[in-house]
Amino acid sequence: MNFLNYFRSQKKSSAAVAKERLQIIVAHERTTRGGPEYLPMLKEELLAVISKYVEVDREAVKIQLDRDGDCEVLELNVVLPEVESQAKLR
């Protein structure tokens, strides 16, 4: 038993911070892994096309490849901006 622990602050250890950061980034990178190599380029081009018509944030476009049995599903998710700005385009 170690009595000095009593005086130590309860701050999270740097190793705990490292573990948490790693878990997040590794999980994120694993989702993009295994997809075809053209996926990032496809995303860029889709983003370019979309922004020709609507002003969208980069973060508002999500592209994801999911595997469902033998089937691969390309999911494109675009969050459009406020209705007012869309109305202008119609």
């Binding site: 170690n2 130590r8 190793a15 490292a18 790693l22 694993r30």
Partner: protein, 268 residues
Amino acid sequence: MARIIVVTSGKGGVGKTTTSAAFSTGLAKAGHKTVVIDFDVGLRNLDLIMGCERRVVYDFVNVINGEANLGQTLIKDKRIDNLFILPASQTRDKDALTLEGVGKVLEELSQEFDYIVCDSPAGIERGALLAAYYADEAIVVTNPEVSSVRDSDRVLGILSSKTRRAEKGEEPIKEHLLLTRYSPARVQKGEMLSVEDVGEILAIDLLGVIPESKSVLNASNAGVPVILDQQSDAGQAYEDAVARFLGEQRPHRFLSEKKGFLGRLFGS
């Protein structure tokens, strides 16, 4: 047929060459005919760690190009029977290695050897891909540090998608984690990721933990694989790892710091 083992990590400087040298020496010492290949074309270093730098005549690229045969090129270790070194080329560019060329050399070595240890260059470029491509097993060398763990995870992704076994749909490469430069005292203080932390993130079988040790630099200074320094903690840890690789059950030593009375009282 030989088993082909790639020693890889993604990140540089984590101990791939030290591990390749120690592991191949350990396998040969256990009686298996072993060859260790330096895949780091342009930055040859395995020869120095193995202490045979002055005996290099031909190299891997010479063999691939048909300028020398394996008999002329392989360097026989002077300390351990059954151990041979295939050095990397220093002068040629990285494109000198081709998938077919590497395949042919490995095929030929497979007839003669029990184990082929491929010392991968750092990174995930061509040289690293070639070193891993034909592997049956992989030793992923990782330091308990964020960038190394992340890179190891990337490498695991490559092993499961861009290698021969993956492309042919065969049984996947057997992946082993080797945690190096481990400092139990710092782990206890919460300053370093623990072996459990890294194991949880990478989720592969743990082959061994090599403690941070002065003996590693001493061994490389002398050109003696650290596994031959049987007094040292790192040397013993490598010996355990090789034994585990060969199917033996051995407890993990060196996971905690030995402490005296004062250390127990005041240490963390």
